[in-house]
């Protein structure tokens, strides 16, 4: 199997996946290494334990290895792989939630934590994010951390665009309640528009 020459990342990913579908171990290795950093940084925001991050990534690539021959080019390879990681992570986080009894924001009475106790906006954000239902948080992170478009997130999460918008809307509303310091005041964007 001849590996692809230096093409665009999309072409290279597609060529690698074709090689993976043909059973090329070197291709899955290269694909793994090119996605590991991005996935690890993304997943580490949901779980502090590297074992969990690694397990999700490796489970993802086991699925990639076994399902590459079923890939039909309906989406970009990157969207497909991140979509597999998304579903694998969702299952893992739900399992952890059942084991640890973790709760979402909806389980908490209003304002049980006073944000004024937190000195830093980042701490508030961390607390606020950790209390969002996992689907809402993943949607928020896919948009703001990974920079995916609305349509890409719909493809990754295998949901209609309307569902993605609704999840993001609810996430924003909850964060607004929880993070009053983040609202108000001018920003570059509003200055640009206003």
């Amino acid at each position: 199997m001849t590996l692809p020459a230096k093409n665009s990342p999309k072409e290279r990913d597609t060529a690698l996946l074709v090689a993976v579908a043909a059973g090329d171990r070197r291709a899955i290795e290269e694909l793994y290494l090119s996605y590991h950093r991005r996935l690890a940084r993304f997943l580490s925001r949901f779980t502090p334990r590297y074992e969990n991050v690694e397990e999700i990534i490796n489970d993802t690539f086991m699925v990639v290895w076994q399902s590459a021959k079923d890939f039909r080019n309906a989406s970009q390879v990157s969207t497909w792989i991140i979509g597999i990681a998304y579903r694998t992570a969702l299952k893992s986080f739900r399992r952890q939630k059942n084991h640890t009894g973790a709760r979402s924001l909806e389980d908490y009475p209003e304002q049980t934590v006073d944000p004024t106790f937190e000195a830093e906006v980042h701490d508030w954000l961390k607390h606020g994010l950790s209390r969002l239902p996992i689907e809402q948080r993943l949607t928020l992170e896919l948009a703001y951390h990974m920079g995916h478009s609305l349509e890409e997130i719909a493809a990754i999460t295998d949901c209609p665009v309307g569902t993605v918008k609704a999840r993001m809307f609810h996430a924003r509303e909850k964060l607004r309640q929880y993070l009053p310091a983040l609202s108000g005041g001018p920003s570059d964007l509003s200055a640009r528009i206003g």
Partner: protein
């Protein structure tokens, strides 16, 4: 009439409001982007929401994320792939040319190693004398062809610490360089394939160029 206008504005407000996160991450199509800007220009609520979303986006981006070294994880994946049932990774019947990939090469590698061990046992002193100039680490189970190197050019602003970190991650060492053109010759420190090391190198923006000078015909089955 006023009621209809208000309803229309309300619908527009909700639709635009739903697009704000993707205005912030700059992935909206041009038409939607202009729609947001026109509406937000007249809507204080949306402007405030934009400001809030921008802060959340910036705060999320600014959160520290750990960098992981993927090689150990990859080895565990390889071990799992090794244990998979054979039919799962078998290529389609109608593509006999693709049947070779890794099982055949694994068999070839094992045979080659057996021959190498036999030679080593049978004529140890002669071999040692011949191999004296070369260097093999204890972690290198499969001999590589001599002279197999990666040629790489790094950003001129890279620090030594950054360079060493990148080389450590890709499990490479400098065998020569940099040349006047800034080209380093790199050799593997481990059983990691040249392709894997190249993939790791190319992830870094400070690596301007990286190519294998002698690529392996097949590998990836290292333990």
């Amino acid at each position: 009439m006023t009621h209809n206008r208000r309803t229309e504005n309300s619908a527009e407000h909700h639709e635009v409001s739903a697009l704000l996160p993707w205005y912030v991450n700059e992935t909206l199509e041009e038409g939607d982007r202009q729609r947001v800007e026109v509406h937000a220009g007249n809507c204080l609520t949306c402007r405030e929401d934009l400001a809030a979303q921008q802060r959340i986006c910036e705060a999320i981006e600014a959160q520290p994320a750990l960098n992981y070294m993927p090689v150990a994880s990859l080895k565990r994946l390889q071990a799992r792939l090794d244990t998979l049932a054979a039919p799962v990774s078998a290529p389609p019947q109608e593509q006999p040319a693709n049947r070779m990939p890794w099982r055949a090469w694994m068999a070839a590698s094992i045979a080659a190693m057996a021959v190498a061990v036999a030679l080593f046992a049978g004529d140890r002193w002669v071999l040692e004398a011949r191999l004296q100039p070369s260097f093999r680490t204890v972690t290198r189970s499969v001999p590589r062809p001599q002279g197999e190197v990666i040629r790489a050019v790094f950003s001129p602003t890279i620090t030594l610490v950054e360079l060493q970190t990148i080389l450590d991650e890709a499990q490479l060492r400098i065998v020569s360089g940099p040349t006047e053109a800034g080209v380093y010759s790199l050799a593997s420190n481990s059983t990691l394939t040249v392709h894997a090391s190249l993939a790791l190198l190319r992830q870094h923006s400070t690596v301007r160029f990286a190519e294998g000078t002698v690529l392996e015909p097949e590998s990836g089955n290292s333990p």
